[in-house]
Symmetry: C2
Subunit: 205 residues, 2 copies
C-alpha cells in the first residue's frame, strides 16, 4: 500500500484540521499515513522569526483565525483559541514519538489538537500532557519519563532536522514516497492522489 | 445576482491560476465577478519586505514554483517562469483599470498572466504592454496615455489603499458583498459558495 508522510507541529492550526480527517481520507484512497511530528520553531528561527508568522503579520493572523473557524465549522468542529498562541508543543511532540511506536500516537495527537483548538487548553506542561494521555487510556508516568529521555529528545531533534533537509517550511506538509511535497491542509487530496497515481494527471483542481 | 470582488496583482502567481478559471466557476454558481487589480508591493513594504516572500524564503519559493507547475498542469496550462520574478506590474494594473471600464479588462488581464507565466515574457514596459493590448484587439496608444494620466495613477493607488483597508495581505483574495474574505486560489470555491449562500453551511471541505 502506498503511504504519505504527514509532517505536523503540535502547535500548528492547520495541522489540526488535517489530523481530523487524514486517516479517513487516506483510507478512501488506499494510502497509509506515517505520522511525523516535528517542530516548526527552528525553521522560523532560521528566518529570524521569534514567533509564528500569524503573530508577526497581524492582518494575516486575523484572517487565519477567521478562515480556521470557517474551515473547522465545515468539518463539524468548534474553534476555541488557546492563549498564548502558539502553544509550546515540545513535550507533546516528544510524547507523540513514543506513541507512534506503541500504536496510540494518532489518537493522542488528535486529542492534543482537540484540547488545544476546540477547548483552548494549554498543552505545554507535564500535567497538561499527562491529562491528555489519560484521555486516550495511556498511563502517563512511564511514558513521560521515556519522552524526556536524552535518546527521545535527540529523536525529536532529528525529526526537525529531517524536515529541514526535505525543505519543509510550514505545517502540515505531506510528502509522498517518491519525494513529492504538498504544503497545507488544502493539499491533502492532491497529496493522496499523487501517492496513489505518481502524478496529478487526471486530477481535477 | 450576487458578486465577489477578485483582488489580484499582475505579478502574483496564484492570481494567474484564479484568473484562468474564475469567470467559468462564478457563472456556474450564479455569481458575477468584479475584477479589482491592485499592487501587493505596498503591503510587503509595510512588513519591511523589499521583494516577494517567495524570494525572501528560498524553501517556500522553491515549493511554490513546483506547486504552481502542478496546479497549472491540472488546469491544462504550461508554466514558464518570468525572469525577474516578480515582474513589475504597475503599468499592466493601470491599463487593466481602463480596460475594466471599457469591457476588455478581464481578457487583457488573462493575456497579461498568460504572457508572464505561460511564456515567461516581460510584462513591465510600455512596449510589452502595448503588444499585449494588441493581442486583445485594443489600440495601445490612447489607452497607454490614459493609463499613465495622473487621475488613473491615483485610481490605482486608491485600489491598493482600499485593499489595505480591507486587511488584504496576499493575492488572490476574494471578498463577498457582506465583507467575508477568502485568501488564495484554493479558496475560490468557498468564496463563491459564500457569495451565493451567505455562509459555508452545507459546504463540504
Amino acid at each position: 500500500m502506498p503511504h504519505i508522510d504527514f509532517w505536523h507541529d503540535p502547535a500548528s492550526t492547520y495541522s489540526w484540521l488535517a489530523a481530523m480527517r487524514i486517516e479517513d481520507a487516506a483510507a478512501r484512497c488506499g494510502v497509509s499515513v506515517r505520522w511525523q511530528p516535528f517542530l516548526l520553531g527552528p525553521a522560523f528561527a532560521r528566518l529570524g522569526w521569534a514567533t509564528s508568522p500569524f503573530n508577526l503579520q497581524p492582518e494575516k493572523g486575523r484572517y487565519m483565525w477567521r478562515d480556521l473557524e470557517r474551515q473547522a465549522a465545515a468539518l463539524g468542529a468548534v474553534l476555541v483559541r488557546p492563549n498564548p498562541f502558539p502553544q509550546n508543543g515540545l513535550l507533546a511532540a516528544r510524547v507523540a514519538l513514543i506513541g507512534h511506536d506503541a500504536g496510540w500516537g494518532p489518537a493522542f495527537t488528535r486529542t492534543v489538537y482537540a484540547a488545544e483548538f476546540s477547548e483552548g487548553r494549554d498543552i505545554s506542561g507535564r500535567e497538561a500532557v499527562a491529562a491528555l494521555l489519560e484521555r486516550v487510556d495511556v498511563a502517563p508516568d512511564t511514558v513521560l519519563d521515556r519522552a524526556t529521555s536524552t535518546e527521545n529528545k535527540l529523536r525529536l531533534k532529528e525529526q526537525s532536522d529531517a524536515a529541514q533537509r526535505l525543505g519543509i517550511f510550514g505545517a502540515p506538509t505531506f510528502v509522498t514516497a517518491d519525494g513529492e511535497m504538498f504544503w497545507g491542509n488544502d493539499r491533502l487530496a492532491e497529496a493522496l492522489y499523487w501517492a496513489r497515481h505518481g502524478s496529478l494527471a487526471g486530477y481535477a483542481v
